[in-house]
Structure formats: C-alpha cells, structure tokens
C-alpha cells in the first residue's frame, strides 16, 4: 500500500507529518519556519508561515515537474537569399508563437520564479504530426498562415520550425515561498488558506483550486495551479458580502467560508468551466446564540465548529445542493475540524489538544460514529526519549518548583535542564559550553523557535555528553535556584529582541485556545504567551500524559477510509515499544531458520519412514468423492436459456495421491433424463462471468474453445459460485499436477473483466512444425484485478490496474476466490482497483423546445449504453458485479473521442453516427457520456509499487538461466512520461526508484527486446527507437524517430529477440523489416494481419496476439488469444494463426517463456500441419504476403457475439 501523509502544526508552529504507514509524527525536515495554517493534497501542501507569506511544499517525485516552452522561427523564400529571415512587412515576426501574433525570441523567455531551472538549451523539434522531418526541422507552406508539411515543394514560399526548451521545478521536498505579486492588486497578508478542487476538472491537467483569506477578511483565489505550474500565477480577489475569517475548499465543487459575524458563506456555481464559482449564499450559524468559527468541507459533507467549540454536521449536502438542508449537533468539542480524502474527518480537541480522527465515516454514513484520538509519539521525542528519561530523576524536583513560576517565565524542560547544566558548567567555566549557550540565546524570538528546532539535531551529540555529565555529577537540591535565575535573565534578553513580529506569532491559534494554560497566556503579555509555550513543553515532558499539543491538522492528502488499518492508536508508549519489538523479533532470517528446520525435518522423516516401505499396503487405497449441487445451465440448443440442472463433481484418487475427476450435468429434455459430462483433465479454463443478475462461470475444453461455446453454469449465490470455482480449480490443477506459484516461464493474460490467468507453457508450445494447439493450453486464475501483466524469464512479473496503479508479483499464488489450500499464505495481499462505468444521455432537437429528452419513437433510449440498444439510467445502472461498489457519483465525462462542448455534449445528424464536439446546422441529435467510478477489493499475490501510476510497461526478456544482475524495466506513466526502473533484480523485483527519461511528447507504448533494443510509441503515433540502451547504460542516449506505416498511427509495439511488431489504431499488425545489428531501426513496415488488438513478442521471437472477430463453429469472439505458427529464425513472420482461448481477452504476455522447443526432424511440409484440425482457420499463405493476409477469414458481424463467455 502506498502511504500518504497527515499534516499537523503544533502550538509552536512546528510542522509535523504522520504517515499512514508510520507510527510517529515526523518533524518536517525543512523546518526553518513556523506555520500557522496548512492545507494539503496528495501531491503537495500549502501553508501560511509566521511571516504571513504563502509557502508550497511539493513532494518530490521520480518524475520531475517539467514544462515545455516553445517558439517558432519563421522564414520566407526570396530569389536572392533563398530562405532567410527577411520577411515581408505584412508577415509575422521572425520569432513568434504558433499563431504568429506574438513576438517571442529565444532570449525573451524567463523562468517564472526562483524555484525553476532550465533543463537544457533550446533545440529544434524535428517532427510534425508524428512524422519525422528533414534535418533542421523545417516545415513548409505556401504562405503564412497555412498548412505546413515536411516536404519542400516548388511553391513552398515560407517555412518555419519549432524550437523547444524545458524548464524544471526544482524546489521539491522543501518549503518554497510563493513569489509576491508584481502586478495587479496585491493582497494583504493572508490569514487562512485552503486547497482543493482537483475533482472539478479531469485528472491529466491536475488543476487545483487554492482559496485564501486575508487579514482584512477578503477572499482571494490563486489562478493557474496545475501539474506543470504548481505555484500558480496570480491572486485574484473574489468579492464577498462580508469579512471572512476562514475558508474551506473541498476536492470537488464545495467551498464554504465563515464570516466574522459567525454566519457561513456557500459558493455556488462552481463548475468545470468556472472553478471560482459565481455567487455566495449565506447560511446561518448552526446555533442561534453562537456564531460559527470554523468550517470544513469535503465532497459531500460540511462540518462546522461554533465559537462555543461545538461540532456540527450539515445534512443533505451534495453538488446539486451545496448549501445542504440542516445542522446536526455532534458530540465532542473541537478547536477545529478538517475534512480529508474520502470525506474522512479530522479534528483537534479543545480538551487535550490532541488530533482526533472520526471513526466509521463511510459513504453511507458520512457523519461517522465516534472520535478517536491519534496517540503516537513524535519522532524527535523518540530520539530524545532516552535522554528525557534520564532527565526524569533530575527533572522531578524541577517540575514542582518550576511549574509555580511557569505562568510568568520559564524555559522548556530541555532548556531548563540545559540551563542547569550550563550553569553548572558555567561554574567550571568551560569555553565550549559557553559557546553553546551563545548559540541558544536568541531562541525566544519567533523565528528562533525554528532555529532551535534546526539546532535540535546538531545538539544531539552535545546532549549525550551532557547526559554523561549528569550521571557523573548528580544535581543537588540547593543548585536549583541557579537555573531559574539564568532562565529569567535569558528571557529578559529575549523580550528585548521581540520585534513587531511578536503579534504575528500570537496569531497561531494560541490565543484562541481556551485551555486554562493558554487562557492564562493570552491574558498576559507577548512575552508571557511565549513563556506559556514553555510551560506546555514542561508539562509535555514531565507530565504524566506526555503528548504534543496541536493547533492545526490537515488530512487533505491523507488517503484513509474507514477500512484502513492504522497504527496510530497505541494507548501507551509501553505497548508501542512492545509492538515494535514483536515485529522486530520475528525477522525474516529467524523465521526462515526455524521454518526451514521443520521443512528439512519433515522431509527427512518422510524419507526415513517411507522410503524402504513403499511396497507396504496403504490403509486406504483409493476412493471416490462426489460433490453435488443444483445449478443453472445455459443450454446448448436454441432457444438458449437457463435451465435448472443437477451438477456433480466426481473425484477419484489413487494411492499416489494422483487424482482425476468428471463433471456431470444432469438435465431433463422432453421428460427424458440426460446428462452432459466433461473430464476434469480436459478442462482448459474456468472463467467467472459475474454480473448483477447471474453468478455464472464458463467451463472450456479444447473442443468448446474451438466452438467458442463454453459450458455456462450459474450458481444460486456468489459464495456458492466461488466455492465451486475454488473446488473445480483445485481439481483441474491437481489432475494436471500443477501446484504452487506460477513458473518463471509462465504465460500471463488478463480478460476485459480484469481477471488474471496464467498458463504453464508446455515444451512443445513453440515446436515446429507441430506446436501444441493453442486451445489445449491450460489456464488457471490468479487472484487480483489487473489491466495488463508483463513478465520475463527471471520470474519478474509486474501488472497495471485499471486505475493505472503499478503492482509487482510477490511470487505467491491463489487469492481471489481461491482461499485456503489453493492459495499461498504469506504473500497474498489485499488489492483494489477502480474503473469507470459509462452511460450515455441522448437528446433530439425539435423546433419547439430545442434539444430535449423527448426522442422519436424509433430513437434509442434517452439514457442508454454506448450502442443505444440497452436502457441504462443513472438509477438502474449497477456496478459490473456484486464485487464492485460505487465510489463516486455520476459525472459528465469530457474525455471522449471527437471532443465535447462545454456541457459535455457531442452532436450528430442522427443516431447512430459519428459525433463531434460542436453544434453544426444539421445536427439533430446530441449525446453526452456520464461516468461513475466503482471499486473492487480483492486479494492476490500483488504488492503496490507507489506512487507513480503507469500506462504501459516492459521488462527485458531473458532466459531463466540468464545471469543478468539488474533487469531493465521501463514504464510509461499515465501522463505519458517515459520511466526506467532502477534496482530491479530477482531478489527485489519491485526495484527502488524511477529514472525519468525526457521526451518531447507524451508516450503510450514501450517495449524492450532481448538485445536491449528499445522501441516506443508516442501518443500522437510517432514511433521511436532509443539508441545505445545496454546493461551498462540502461537509460540509453537518444530517440530516433521512425516513420509510421503509410496513413496509419501505431498504438502498441512489442520487441522480441530480434523481431519488432507493432499494432496500429485500425487493428493492423505490422512487422519491421530490415533490422540488422548495425542498423537496428530497420527499413520499413510489412503488413502481417488485420483485426489485431495487441501483440506480444517473446524472447524467442514467438508472436502471440489478442485478435478480434475470430470465427468459431458456434459463434464469433473478439479478444481471442492467437499464436503465430511457423515462426522460425529464418522465417520470423511465421505463416498462420492458431486460435486459443477467447471471448473477452484483453492482454497476453509471452515474454517469460524462453523454452526452446525440442527439435524434431521435419517429416511433412509446414503447410499440411495446419490442416490437421479444422479449427485452425488459415490466414494467408506461407509467404505471409499482404494480399493474402488481408483476405479476412474472419467474417460475421459483432452483433453475433452472443457466444462470448466474457463479453467485452
């Protein structure tokens, strides 16, 4: 699980973070400032420091924040100078932006702030629309402005080229000051700040809303914050009807503010187009007597605190009704509350100033159940605890004495003790300690609180020394007056240094706090408020319940929900330490020792007791075990329907624990009892087909794979289905002798439902001329939910989920429905995945009302699926199966091919048609897509590789005997960054970190071959070869742009030992010709096949694809695993396809299988091998020529796809 952070500020303005995986508050490393307000999201944290400046803390990522700057160089041809910079007076600037209207020379570009740096110098972009240009990067046109082409023609009068340069944000993992504004109205100092709004727009841009309140009560909004500009550009004022004291911005469209008078303001009209909203609505304070003092909003919740510290929950809040309906008083008194991710609620209690989390907050119960205190120590306490303990004896007599005085003036404990020590040493006039004293003197001024913290670490050795001293020289009772004097003296010194800033410092919630101690503090002068701080510290260190006092908490970036397991609630430090020691005591090494011993002893025992006695009779020789049940079966003949059947699995086991079984389906046909059976050892795959109406699964045998018609069975309940699947799966594996985790050679595949299958390749899988027919491959399911899996021959297996999370295989097996015996124990983990469900809203134009939901009688449903054939309303659409739960509300999806207008509509002349994102004269219909996210929680042998979300990945194919130390693993982030994984070895398949490889555009597909040949495809279809990648230079040096096949845009590439195959957007499979060691880029693309969705080329240049429109004897299937037959070193293109499992397959990787097939002398010509069974539909002749392969054997229409077990 990836961890995330809870941020908090203590009463001294020190910033701490608490990791969801951690057990300690960690002091923010870069603590040169004290803060009064923080607001965080997952990628960053904003804060207002004591100097009233806004600071940004961006978490460092393996992928840097980089921003492309571009400018165009324009030239015109004249007969004398040819192309030159002399332009006509009417022409554009010689250096301009893309439109030509803005003059911009290379040196006019400035870095936006001191937090940026240039990555390299300017260079020329040598590509246009995914195609490489001539050297120099010029593109030609007749005149400005016009269509530019890469070829120079006779009438090309002008040319231009694009210059690009990247700048990089460099102030990660540190507090970077937001530069003050040069122009526009300058906001007065800020008092409150709140970030959110990332769900208003779509993920790729990563826009954030940042709202701030100034001391004068004005509201400001920071413009232009997104991924590539984390700092934003400018503050703009948002007018308010009154003086605002505090504001809160949710992840989505909720923004609430608190007015000075105690009412609340709600921002209305926030939308994708207008993230700042349009107007304010006033909502009364929850309590008639007392005004509100604080508000916090999430996605669908609003919490408020009134001035009497009571906590309130707002009922009925959602994006349609941001104001909600009414207040509910909650138990507990809080200084402030904060709503974080998943609408989880955090608060700081009035009573003890501890951070609380609201327990039991779920989407159905947003108000939660109870408050629970987070009880964890602080990291600095931990490191000091030893010395603190050793101080206790010394401190005892201090505390009593000092506490009396503490209301007026005393340092904190460490200070006072060090004072003691200093005074002691002062008596011995040690020069070193005198120095130390000097260094600490200015600590009482506001800034110096931080410098004190900074010096904390430096001081450590000194402290240890002091501890020694203390042991050596125990304090005596009569010395105690000395430290007090010293401290008072110090304080008077410091009060002299208290400047105008002191009042700012007191803004840290201290004066508002109504605990007795702070109340006392706020009553007295500046100085005493500081001393009250010291009092706190004193309490904290010497008091019985030693815990930090918090002023502010922010959970906006803290990814927890009601199920998250947190180690934050240790009731005492004793327990926490013992928990720790327990986890420490079972180290893997020790575990291995005793466990290994038991394994050894057991096998010794078996040998001793059995080896010489195998001829003895067994007590129980052989037996039959029958399990029966009632199920429904989708009958084979028409009309197809579900009929009730009796279902039985008979298993036989012999003395050698080998087993076999038969599956019986007893049905009645015309009052006659009949049955259907399948031998367990013939079953090739079991596919669950969960949907919201049936708990069904499909059983395939080779014959049924050929027919594209499995045995489909439905159990009464989901549990029953899982029990049967687990049992059948176990029987199938037993009958084939498959146990334990998948081998390194295993072939992995995934279905469009996200199910993961693995196949142990038979040695003759790639045999020539008689390969194992594809439909005989046995696939078993592995737990988890993934979109794609990649592997290599060393057993390194990675996967990517539908939510783009990267996962690494732990080497376990089972999970999902395979519990207990069919599953390994220690390496099965919880896995989650999120995907979207889409429905379409359709409308027709009529002259009276314009577009409306009243269609023609012949029209599709006004709410439908994409084809329009099925009605799908918001209310009736359910998650794909009971395993999925909704995690968001329906929202408009703007990311649809063809584009949309501002409201997400796409227009067309009529249904069904091609849609476009703007209205034309003859457009009579329109549609828009709604998306709703759902989440699955399952188990499997997968561990998350946080934090970067991936789009594609590839692993260096190598044989299982390979001695490769570090394995090349490349990925493409979901933003299109190319990444190279560092530190991937057999022992640590997850690797350590990503290395970012700069590219000029986002990428989408990548593959590395056996000889480190690296090919990749950009999102615009440009294909690249990366030069000089090797074991020694894993990142390579530069990209070579490869022209695409004519008029096609490539979308996926796979590189084997030498072969390079690519698939284009129209489903054509291409083979790269002319690859030689000296010219690895090759010369041209050769067409191999159509109807291809994905290709995987193995370490022996095996070619496997996922194909569409594969004809079976019963029905047609799309998403079918196919194997290229006849691939040989001299014939890398093979000659035909063999069809395997299919109907709904999404991905396959053959890249782990490096087993050479046994060599057989060829007794018959290759062609006749194909005709051995009718199932192998032949495509193309042995020559693999383009004409032949284009003559599609795959007929039929997609509407006839009813035979698919897994529909796509």
């Amino acid at each position: 699980m990836s961890s995330s952070l809870l941020w908090a500020v203590d009463v001294y303005g020190r910033v701490y973070t608490l990791s969801t995986a951690g057990q300690y508050w960690e002091l923010c490393k870069d603590a040169h400032l004290e803060f009064k307000r923080l607001t965080s999201v997952q990628q960053c944290c904003w804060g207002i420091a004591g100097d009233h400046q806004v600071y940004l803390y961006m978490h460092c990522s393996d992928v840097p924040i980089r921003c492309q700057e571009e400018t165009y160089e324009n030239q015109r041809w004249n007969p004398v100078d040819r192309f030159c910079e002399k332009l006509l007076p009417s022409d554009r600037w010689q250096w301009s932006d893309v439109t030509g209207l803005k003059h911009q020379t290379l040196d006019s570009f400035r870095l936006p702030s001191e937090h940026w740096e240039w990555e390299a110098d300017w260079y020329v972009d040598e590509s246009i629309d995914g195609e490489p240009t001539e050297k120099g990067g010029w593109t030609y046109a007749i005149d400005f402005p016009a269509t530019y082409t890469k070829d120079k023609k006779w009438n090309s009068c002008v040319r231009r080229r694009r210059w690009i340069r990247y700048r990089r944000y460099k102030s990660g993992d540190t507090w970077a000051k937001i530069p003050s504004q040069d122009d526009g109205p300058l906001p007065d100092p800020f008092n409150d700040i709140s970030v959110g709004g990332w769900e208003i727009t779509d993920e790729p841009r990563g826009r954030l809303s940042l709202w701030a309140v100034s001391l004068q009560g004005k509201v400001w909004c920071r413009e232009g914050i997104h991924h590539h500009n984390p700092e934003g550009c400018v503050w703009t004022e948002v007018m308010t009807p009154g003086e605002v004291v505090q504001i809160s911005c949710g992840p989505s469209d909720l923004v609430w503010a608190v007015l000075w008078e105690g009412q609340l303001l709600v921002r209305e009209g926030i939308s994708r187009e207008n993230p700042k909203g349009s107007s304010w609505v006033v909502v009364d304070s929850p309590s008639t007597e007392v005004g509100a003092s604080h508000v916090a909003v999430g996605i669908n919740v609003v919490w408020a605190v009134t001035k009497d510290r009571k906590v309130w929950f707002r009922r009925g809040v959602n994006s349609h009704n941001p104001c909600g309906t009414g207040w509910i008083g909650m138990v507990g008194e809080m200084v402030m509350v904060n709503v974080g991710l998943n609408d989880q609620v955090w608060g700081i209690s009035c009573e003890d100033r501890a951070v609380y989390i609201r327990q039991g907050v779920t989407s159905s119960e947003l108000s939660g159940k109870t408050w629970k205190a987070i009880v964890v120590a602080r990291d600095d306490n931990r490191s000091h605890s030893e010395s603190a303990n050793s101080l206790v004896s010394a401190g005892c007599f201090f505390s009593g004495e000092v506490r009396v005085q503490s209301q007026s003036s005393v340092m904190n404990d460490t200070e006072s003790s060090s004072e003691t020590e200093r005074s002691q040493t002062a008596q011995s006039t040690s020069p070193t300690h005198a120095d130390a004293m000097k260094r600490r003197i200015p600590k009482v001024t506001s800034d110096s609180f931080i410098s004190e913290l900074v010096s904390d670490k430096e001081r450590k050795p000194g402290r240890d020394g002091r501890d020694d001293q203390e042991e050596g020289a125990p304090l005596e009772q009569d010395q105690k007056s000395v430290p007090q004097e010293t401290s008072i003296e110090l304080l008077s010194q410091s009060s002299g240094q208290l400047g105008a800033r002191e009042s700012q410092w007191s803004n840290v919630d201290l004066e508002e706090a109504q605990t007795p101690l702070t109340a006392a503090a706020s009553d007295t002068t500046e100085t005493s408020s500081l001393s009250s701080v010291a009092t706190y510290n004193l309490e904290e260190q010497y008091g019985v319940d030693e815990h930090p006092l918090w002023a502010w908490v922010c959970g906006g970036g803290c990814a927890v929900d009601s199920h998250t397991h947190l180690n934050w609630f240790n009731t005492s430090t004793g327990v926490s330490s013992s928990v720790q020691s327990m986890s420490l005591s079972i180290t893997p090494a020790q575990t291995a020792a005793w466990r290994k011993r038991i394994f050894e002893q057991l096998s010794e025992r078996s040998k001793r007791e059995l080896e010489n006695f195998r001829h003895y009779e067994q007590v129980i020789e052989q037996s039959v075990w029958v399990k029966k049940g009632i199920m429904q079966w989708w009958r084979d003949w028409k009309p197809n329907k579900w009929i009730d059947v009796q279902f039985a699995l008979e298993q036989f086991s012999g003395s050698d624990s080998n087993r076999d079984g038969i599956l019986f389906i007893y049905y009645t046909f015309n009052d006659e009892k009949k049955y259907l059976h399948a031998f367990i050892n013939e079953i090739t795959i079991l596919v669950p087909v969960l949907n919201d109406t049936k708990h069904a699964f499909a059983v395939y045998t080779p014959e049924r794979t050929k027919q594209r018609w499995p045995i489909r069975l439905a159990a009464a309940t989901e549990q029953e289905m899982h029990d049967w699947l687990a049992l059948l799966n176990l029987s199938c594996c037993d009958s084939r002798g498959i146990h334990g985790p998948p081998s390194k050679q295993a072939i992995w595949s995934t279905t469009c439902k996200g199910d993961i299958y693995v196949c142990e390749p038979a040695p003759n899988l790639e045999a020539v001329p008689y390969p194992l027919p594809c439909d005989q491959m046995f696939w078993r399911q592995i737990g988890g939910h993934l979109r794609l899996v990649e592997s290599n021959g060393l057993g390194i297996v990675w996967g990517i989920g539908y939510d783009h999370t990267a996962w690494v295989c732990t080497g376990g097996y089972g999970g999902g429905f395979s519990q207990g015996l069919a599953s390994s124990t220690d390496n099965i983990h919880t896995q989650t995945d999120v995907k979207s469900v889409y429905i379409h809203e359709n409308q027709r134009w009529n002259p009276v009302t314009g577009y409306s939901s009243r269609g023609l009688p012949t029209d599709r449903y006004m709410w439908s699926n994409v084809s329009g054939l099925q009605e799908c309303t918001k209310a009736s659409t359910k998650p794909p199966s009971p395993q999925w739960t909704w995690v968001s509300d329906w929202c408009i999806d703007y990311n649809i091919s063809g584009g949309t207008d501002m409201e997400g509509w796409q227009y067309a002349a009529d249904f069904p048609a091609t849609y476009h994102g703007y209205k034309k004269m003859k457009d009579f219909v329109r549609r828009r897509r709604w998306a709703r996210k759902c989440k699955i929680t399952t188990t499997g042998p997968w561990l998350e590789v946080p934090p970067i979300a991936l789009w594609d990945l590839t692993i260096l194919p190598c044989s299982s005997q390979s001695s490769v130390e570090e394995v090349s693993l490349w990925g493409i982030s979901n933003k299109g960054d190319v990444l190279c994984r560092i530190g991937v070895t057999r022992q640590s398949p997850a690797g350590t970190s990503w290395l970012h490889i700069g590219t000029d555009q986002p990428f989408k597909s990548i593959s590395i071959g056996g000889g480190y040949q690296m090919w990749a495809i950009a999102r615009d279809g440009s294909t690249f070869y990366r030069g000089s990648v090797s074991a020694e230079n894993p990142a390579g040096d530069c990209w070579y742009h490869i022209p695409s096949p004519p008029r096609q845009k490539l979308k996926q590439v796979s590189v084997g030992r030498t072969s390079v195959y690519a698939v284009d957007e129209n489903g054509n499979l291409w083979y790269r010709q002319g690859l030689t060691p000296s010219y690895p880029q090759g010369s041209s693309w050769e067409h191999i096949s159509n109807n291809v969705r994905k290709v995987s080329v193995g370490p022996l240049d095996q070619v496997w694809i996922i194909a569409d429109k594969v004809q079976g004897s019963h029905s047609l299937s799309c998403g079918t695993v196919c194997h290229r037959v006849g691939v040989q070193p001299m014939e890398p293109k093979g000659h035909s396809w063999d069809y395997g499992i299919g109907g709904g397959w999404e991905h396959i990787t053959i890249r782990g299988n490096s087993q050479e097939a046994p060599r057989i002398v060829m007794p018959v010509p290759a062609e006749s091998a194909l005709e051995k069974s009718g199932c192998v539909a032949e495509e193309g002749g042995g020559d693999g020529g383009r004409t032949a392969s284009n003559s599609s054997v795959l007929g039929g229409k997609e509407e006839e796809l009813n035979g698919n077990a897994v529909s796509c």
Binding site: S585, R595, I598, E617, S824, T825
Partner: protein
C-alpha cells in the same frame, strides 16, 4: 522456499510402516503370517486396522476372537491417541517397521477404552475438536458450523481426504490479526515416565505485552526439565509428528501447522536414547 501448505500435506500424509504380529498365546489353526501396513500418523488405530483383523481372522476360530487390542513391547496402545503420537511416545528411535503385537484375548480393561464401532472413534474425535475450538475461539467456530461440516471433517479423516478435511478445518485455524493468535493453544504434553497421562493447561500464543510465545516458552512453563539448560546435557527429546522442532518455533505457527486433525498439538517428551 517451500510453502506452509506443504507442511500440512507432509503432516497429513505421514505414514508409519508397521508389522502386525499375532500374540504368541493366541490360539490359531495354522501359523499366522505377520501383516504389513502403512499406518497414517494422523489417524486412529481402530480406524485403520480392519485389514489386520481380517488377516488374522483367516487363521483363527471366530469363538477365539474377542475385541482386538494392540500392544507394543508390553504397553497396550491406546486407540484414542493418534497413531503418530503412540509411535513417537513409545517407539521413537527404534528400527522400522514398528512391531505391534495383536491380541484378541485378555482385554486390558484398566488401560484401554473399548472401541465397539467407528462411531465411538468419531464421537471421541469430534469431542477433541470441540474442546480444541473451545480453547481457540471459545467454541464459536465449531458451533457455527453446520452438521455437514462436522461430518466432512470426520469423513475427511476416515477416508484420508486431505482436501475434504482441510476445506473445513481451515476455518478452525483462523484467528483475528489484532489478537495475534488463538485465545489459548490446544496442546497436550505426553511422557512415558510419568503416571499422569498428559499435561494440559491454559497457555496463550502471545504474552500480555504482545510477545510471541515459542515452543520453548511452553515447555519451560509446563515441563521445564524438557528444556535443555544452556550448559547442560540434553536429556529429553521433544517430538511432534516424528520431528523435533527447534524451541524458537512460535507456538501459534505450530498449532496451525503441526496439530493433529483433532486440532491438538500432541507433544511427546521422551528421554534421550542412551546409545
């Protein structure tokens, strides 16, 4: 590294090669040949010796055959102990096969329980499982099971069906992660040298502070003589399923993986062989 599941399999499929010899004083019509059988360690003698009985029936008159009972080197073998335990306790460190003497007369009433039918074994077996679950989960798991699940446990043992048995038994081995183990570990410590049949007390898998208890911790508390002092000579062997797990082995793990089908950890403490 091998999987923990393999331990369960190895334990289940443990077999002791045994030779059954008819007691010399039994009256036979002709000389009886010894009978050789691989006895499942996890099963019970009376459950697996039908074949033995049939074998000797051939040479004996019906009227001379009382209830069969078995004896090893003068010790009557209690059928209600699992076979593996009997072997570990009485016959460890001896040459294989295990020589068991078969009697049909003079049933030792004071040493052995009668076993008239398999139903008696089933009742004994199920009562053990229930007792074990009472210790582990206050009996909640076994009580929530259906009758057919109980039956499946027994049938699994009777028919030597590992999968059938463990499909149910795994539920008895579950525990909440927060508690770090069962409530108490169901165990019994046996020794040949004592008059007490066995030691059985309440013992938790983790200490109050959350520290895991090991096999060594258990023995120290229950039978400290079995733990070899650091400087001393090893006097006892601690045997479970014919192996001597190291004393550092966590008790919880042992209970989950080395328990007999009756869900008890049967531990034999036997004197070191004096050779």
């Amino acid at each position: 590294m091998a999987d923990d599941k393999d331990v369960l399999r190895d334990v289940w499929f443990g077999r002791i090669p045994t030779s059954f010899t008819l007691y010399q004083d039994e009256i036979t019509e002709r000389e009886a040949d010894p009978y050789y059988l691989l006895l499942p360690r996890v099963s019970y003698l009376t459950l697996v010796t039908d074949k033995v009985k049939k074998h000797f029936q051939k040479v004996m008159k019906q009227e001379d055959m009382g209830e069969m009972w078995l004896e090893y080197e003068g010790t009557p073998l209690k059928w209600h102990y699992p076979i593996g335990l009997l072997f570990d306790l009485h016959a460890s460190n001896t040459a294989l096969p295990w020589n068991i003497t078969v009697h049909f007369k003079n049933f030792p009433e004071k040493d052995l329980l009668h076993c008239t039918s398999n139903y008696v074994i089933e009742a004994h077996f199920m009562s053990c499982i229930k007792e074990a679950d009472a210790l582990k989960h206050k009996g909640q798991v076994i009580n929530e099971m259906q009758k057919k699940d109980h039956k499946q446990l027994w049938m699994g043992l009777q028919n030597d069906k590992f999968d059938q048995f463990w499909a149910i038994n795994r539920k008895l081995m579950e525990y909440s992660v927060e508690e770090g183990g069962f409530r108490y570990i169901p165990f019994r410590i046996y020794q040949t040298t004592s008059d007490r049949p066995f030691i059985q007390k309440l013992f938790r898998p983790v200490t109050a502070e959350g520290q895991t208890h090991t096999l060594g911790d258990l023995l120290k508390e229950m039978f400290s003589a079995a733990v070899t002092p650091d400087d001393g000579e090893k006097k006892y062997q601690v045997v479970i399923h014919g192996i001597e797990p190291v004393l550092e082995t966590p008790l919880q793990w042992l209970s989950e993986h080395l328990s007999y089908p009756d869900n008890f950890l049967h531990i034999s403490v036997i004197p070191m062989p004096t050779d």
